[in-house]
């Protein structure tokens, strides 16, 4: 049972200060949001850079954007942790958690952890390049370590928003809800960029695509959508992802660029975008609708409904949309289906106009979709657990 501490007059005054601070959006929240935006933009740019220009150094502008985001988050968290640990103001310490003798907001520790993991990935990635070749694969083990670190940074920033949001009200709360949904949208963008190699239009009539989409997407949509308390939280998160990807799709090609290494198998003359977004808005809206209708039911029941309706919604929207994406009608600047990287061999051009046969048998397809269904339910259940925890977060 939690103990209540009697407050003296000074403490009451400090509590009033905390209350007034809660009415505004804390500076570290803005700092964290800026860092996450910079990292997300840098990642998008970096993948585009690898597809278009190819030549990679530590100092490419895309890497600088990622490093700036990481540095800003690190400085913010170091300041928060040290100022809280060694603060004379007990109010700061009282609103913090303790890890290894240090005190600070929970989100700051996650961000610091993610930052160290990002740094760890650097020598690992360098060795991987020397051992297995320079970057030609997004989802390699060292990149997964980097991605986990970035997710740690983003999660930390998000937790700082959530703890501030849970203690705020009025306009400040509305602002923080919007910030939370924005950051969750960026988290979805990062997640989808890691899955970029599995989200090609030619794969959208295979179980593999739906298995990949159900591993983490429902979790992100549900965890942060429900935690926000917004009726259409998941829908807004998916809309942020969609808007980001559309902006990239339509803005990046405005910048001329060409490969700086060979072999150049496909001629490229502008910065390549990362393709048309997956239509996650539709299943996300179905998720929100389902939760509105099952709010009083058990968590597993909600997860079963959510997972099922997410997968069903995704299939019913994306299966026919894939037919469009694979058609000549989508090979234009609006849908970007003919944006091929410089290393794409002409012998594989058929992949932009026909589906890959990734399910060799009917049984393989059936079992693949069964796994996707189970995955969607489990992912939804974990999302609900995280959402419940986030709603209780105060520090």
């Amino acid at each position: 049972m939690a103990q209540s501490i009697p407050l003296d007059i000074t403490s009451r005054a400090e509590s009033a200060g905390i209350a007034s601070r809660a009415a505004a959006v804390p500076w570290q929240v803005w700092s964290g949001a800026t860092a996450v935006t910079s990292i997300t933009f840098g990642l998008y740019w970096d993948i585009s850079w690898h597809m278009t220009i190819g030549r990679d150094t530590f100092w490419t502008p895309a890497h600088l954007a990622i490093q700036f985001g990481g540095l800003l988050a690190a400085v913010t968290c170091i300041y928060l942790i040290f100022s809280t640990t060694f603060a004379t103001d007990p109010a700061l310490r009282d609103a913090s958690v303790r890890v290894w003798g240090f005190r600070g907001p929970l989100g700051a520790f996650f961000t610091a952890w993610g930052g160290v993991l990002m740094l760890t990935s650097v020598p690992f990635d360098n060795w991987w390049h020397a051992s297995f070749g320079l970057d030609v694969q997004i989802l390699s083990p060292p990149h997964f370590v980097l991605g986990t670190g970035i997710n740690g940074v983003v999660l930390g920033a998000t937790l700082m928003v959530v703890s501030a949001m849970n203690g705020a009200d009025g306009i400040a709360k509305e602002k923080l809800v919007r910030l939370l949904l924005y950051l969750a949208g960026l988290q979805l963008v990062i997640h989808m960029m890691l899955l970029y190699e599995y989200s090609d239009a030619s794969m959208m009539h295979s179980a593999l695509f739906y298995r990949v989409m159900t591993i983490g997407v429902p979790l992100i949509l549900i965890a942060f959508g429900r935690a926000s308390g917004h009726r259409w939280g998941s829908t807004i998160i998916a809309a942020v992802y969609t808007a980001w990807m559309c902006a990239g799709l339509w803005i990046f090609p405005l910048f001329p660029a060409s490969p700086k290494l060979g072999p150049v198998l496909t001629n490229v003359t502008f910065m390549l975008p990362l393709g048309f977004p997956i239509l996650l808005v539709a299943p996300a809206a179905l998720l929100d609708f389902a939760f509105q209708r099952t709010s009083g039911r058990g968590r597993w029941f909600q997860a079963a409904i959510a997972g099922t309706i997410f997968l069903a919604g995704l299939i019913s929207v994306h299966w026919p949309f894939a037919d469009f994406l694979i058609s000549p009608l989508a090979r234009n600047r609006i849908f970007g289906q003919n944006d091929l990287p410089y290393f794409f061999p002409p012998s594989r051009y058929y992949l932009i106009c026909e589906f890959r046969r990734l399910d060799p048998t009917r049984f393989a397809r059936l079992s693949g979709f069964s796994i996707a269904w189970m995955s969607a339910i489990v992912s939804s259940r974990i999302g609900i657990v995280i959402a419940d925890a986030l709603k209780r977060l105060r520090r």
Partner: protein, 514 residues
């Protein structure tokens, strides 16, 4: 536990088996003319592709100011869109020596187009570069230890952070955690540890899987060679190769002739290297992967077989095999076939600079004094004197070249078939020349003999010895020379083949390489 896990991870990434391609000699040594400039180039290819190669170019023609290099495939899709060229940097103390790096993003038959510009005008030469992944690298122990330390730290930190989240994360400001929170925190920490270890175990499996797939997919392996001997007829069959099959659309299938022959077959008696046969099997008319050769008289013994072929992209393969050859009763050597006999190779046989030829003639190795170092460009110059000790004037082209040289390590881990143009295949050079619009081989060969390189060249990294004289296809004098660098220390035997009075003569020399 975690240490054992990481050790298991590292153990799965042992150094790949030594690559057999081109048999242990992957660097490119080249001489040729870029317009008015006579250039000598060394290209150190990376052990893994994609990777970065180091290139060094020296001009022995004064007046060169700039060298720009462009890497692209010799033919096919990768040859249509050259990336922008890179400028090589001149050495601070030698304006005629340039160096830099080039990115090779896929295995295949590359060319490096070198554009030379200076006081004498501009010119271009295309240097063939067969690029292929040779080996993956084991993780250095220091890096492994550092990553292991970070792994332990990060796992411990994650456990502590989740524990703090459960213990204090949901409390209002100022509220202290009670027994329930502390108990819950311990459970969460235990669960976090278990989940993290499980995730690391899955990561271990994935890492091993990706690393194995990378190794199998990328590391070059020459096709295996099947050999059968019936009477005096040797049949050879080039087996299917997964590495080549995956690259069919980059010209890794069909064969093209290299100075007139689809296959150059070298039989070297092991372990003494006292016999060498340079033969040219004929392709089967119905099966392009099969060859037959009517063997000449061959001394009985155990032989190492090296079979050189060139793909339609210009990519060379050297297949290796060991066979026992019984007494044969074939006819005399025919066509371009040749043989050589020498004393057995021993650790003490290096140092002789004169090799006997037929009719009392001799071949002299005009070797620079001092030790021979590995991994640097050397000029191997050989002069043929007649029985009276005068330089001969009647050398003829042998298969279109002034000479051929085979450099073989005593343990057979290195086999390199070199020409006066360098270590590249002549077929690839012709393809690259045609692709780039630079001087084709015949034209290049007719250029005047290059002047000797001054002594300062010998001090440059990767450059030693004197520049060749004479041209590549037509012996201009009694001398023939080859640019080459030994890939590693050891004892080597060098077979130098020239043609005189319609007969192939072979000088045999040994070298101790530091």
């Amino acid at each position: 536990m975690k240490k054992a896990l990481l050790i298991a991870l590292f153990a799965s990434l042992e150094l790949a088996p030594a690559c057999l391609a081109h048999v242990g000699s992957p660097d490119v040594y080249f001489q040729g003319n870029a317009g008015p400039y006579h250039l000598v180039a060394t290209i150190h290819t990376p052990p893994m592709i994609p990777g970065v190669a180091q290139i060094e170019i020296r001009s022995d023609t004064p007046g060169l100011r700039d060298v720009m290099v462009t890497p692209l495939y010799i033919n096919g899709d990768g040859s249509k869109y050259p990336p922008p060229p890179d400028k090589l940097q001149p050495a601070a103390d030698d304006g005629q020596f340039f160096s830099g790096s080039i990115w090779l993003m896929d295995s295949g038959s590359w060319q490096v187009r070198a554009q030379a510009d200076g006081a004498l005008g501009a010119g271009t030469v295309a240097i063939p570069v067969p690029a292929f992944a040779r080996s993956s690298l084991p993780m250095p122990k220091s890096l492994g230890a550092a990553l292991l330390g970070l792994l332990v730290l990060l796992v411990a930190a994650l456990v502590a952070i989740f524990g703090a989240a459960r213990r204090e994360g949901t409390l209002e400001a100022g509220e202290q955690p009670g027994p329930e929170q502390k108990r819950g925190a311990r459970k969460v920490m235990a669960a976090t540890l278990a989940i993290t270890i499980a995730a690391l175990a899955v990561g271990d499996l994935w890492w091993t899987d990706v690393a194995t797939a990378n190794t199998n997919r990328k590391i070059y392996r020459p096709p295996s060679l099947g050999i059968s001997l019936v009477g005096d007829e040797m049949s050879l069959h080039i087996a299917e190769s997964g590495w080549h099959a995956r690259r069919q659309d980059t010209g890794m299938g069909a064969l093209i002739a290299d100075h007139g022959h689809l296959m150059h077959l070298f039989l070297v008696r092991a372990p003494d290297m006292d016999r060498l046969y340079h033969l040219h099997p004929q392709q089967d008319s119905t099966d392009p992967a099969s060859f037959v050769d009517a063997l000449p008289d061959i001394a009985v013994g155990h032989y190492r077989v090296f079979a050189d072929i060139v793909r339609s992209s210009g990519f060379p393969d050297t297949m290796v095999k060991e066979i026992d050859i019984p007494q044969t009763s074939g006819g005399p050597l025919a066509g371009d076939d040749s043989e050589a006999m020498a004393a057995p190779l021993t650790d003490r046989s290096a140092g002789k600079l004169v090799a006997p030829l037929s009719g009392g003639a001799h071949m002299i190795w005009e070797r620079d004094p001092g030790p021979i170092r590995s991994s640097r460009l050397l000029w191997f110059r050989f002069r043929v004197d007649d029985a009276s000790g005068k330089p001969v004037t009647d050398l003829e082209p042998y298969m279109g070249m002034a000479g051929h040289a085979e450099f073989i390590a005593s343990d057979f881990s290195v086999f390199a078939h070199i020409h006066p143009e360098g270590s590249i295949s002549m077929a690839a050079l012709a393809l690259a020349g045609a692709s780039s619009g630079s001087a084709p081989l015949e034209e290049s060969a007719q250029t005047p003999a290059a002047p000797e390189m001054n002594m300062s060249a010998m001090a440059m990294p990767g450059m030693a010895g004197e520049m060749a004289t004479g041209s590549s296809t037509t012996p201009a004098s009694a001398e023939v020379s080859f640019p080459y660098g030994f890939p590693k220390a050891g004892v080597y035997r060098i077979f130098v083949q020239v043609k005189r009075k319609g007969k192939v003569e072979t000088g045999v020399f040994d070298a101790n390489v530091d």
